[in-house]
Symmetry: C2
Subunit: 200 residues, 2 copies
């Protein structure tokens, strides 16, 4: 049985969350008021407030939405990764893409805003810890390596931190050319230090 009104309500909610993330990535935290987000979503301010009574409610939901979107994106792209010797580079490239896209940009604005907003901070710290664990687990799986081997855990963590740093380096300028060389080299380093060659 279809429930057209409920469908419409869900579609409105999703449009608001997508607009919230876009507003964050483009305008930053201060510029992303409920009114601005509602206008971008083509939704009346009243309807927006029906879904999200306060700005904190809107962005707490947007934080969850970013997390879910990152998860979906990662799952979809994981299936397309090549096997064989090119795999490591493709995995590193995919991990780095997570941190250089618009979702990371939005997340970065949230993190910085959260340094001076206790409520936002609590929800983000909890979410980031969960996402961090997921990304770590996924990286281990995609690279086909085992955490019980000494050094593997820290090398994979370092890879995620490097990806985060590359995301930051891409914030104000287009860093894609420099980044490509680093990804190439990092894949070589991983193959040499994780004994990942045995996988291919």
């Amino acid at each position: 049985m279809r429930q057209p009104q409920q469908d419409r309500s869900r579609a409105t909610r999703q449009r608001l969350l997508e607009s919230a993330i876009e507003a964050l990535a483009e305008l930053g935290w201060q510029g992303s008021t409920v009114a601005v987000v509602a206008e971008r979503a083509g939704v009346s301010r009243g309807a927006a407030q029906h879904h999200f009574p306060t700005r904190e409610d809107l962005f707490a939901a947007a934080v969850e939405y970013v997390g879910e979107a990152r998860r979906t994106w990662t799952r979809e792209h994981s299936a397309d990764l090549p096997t064989g010797p090119e795999r490591t580079r493709a995995v590193v490239d995919m991990i780095v893409r997570i941190y250089t896209g618009p979702l990371f940009r939005a997340a970065l604005h949230l993190w910085v805003a959260a340094t001076s907003d206790e409520q936002l901070r609590t929800s983000i710290v909890e979410l980031e810890a969960r996402i961090g664990r997921e990304q770590h687990k996924l990286a281990l799986e995609l690279l086909g390596v085992d955490e019980s081997t000494p050094g593997v855990r820290e090398t994979v963590q370092a890879t995620l931190d490097m990806a985060r740093g590359l995301g930051l380096a891409n914030l104000l300028t287009d860093d894609s050319k420099r980044r490509a060389g680093i990804i190439d080299r990092w894949a070589e380093v991983l193959d040499a230090t994780l004994n990942a060659g045995a996988r291919t």
Copy 2:
């Protein structure tokens, strides 16, 4: 010949710049008005405006000041690094410290603010490019490696990006324990892949 008034003026200017950085690290860009910075520095608003007519002037000077402070800190700490097998770890630790201290925190607020402020962006992009080149050159020197060896340039760049990522990971929570394990492992990876063992 002493010039007490000029000395006082210089001291006031420096106090304003230090307060600007502290305000940024603690309150973020929006909270760091000229009035707030002047109050923290114990300077009248009029005196602050004599030195820095606009907020943009104040923070452009603060950006320069952050750059100079990072340079001084790095120079001072470079001299204290051990030689021998512990050197690589000490160098990585020093590089990571640059990106996890209050100066990086202040810089991060400026970067994010600069995504929606054209004037700030221009001065920061130029400054960051200069600092990036300096840090890269310094890292090569401290590690005792030569960029003409294939892969060395990208590995050193990856090290700086990882340090930046660790700085970001430290923004909302104390990440020092996890970080120590990554620094240990990264030093091993550098020793294995840069052929840095020949140095010791």
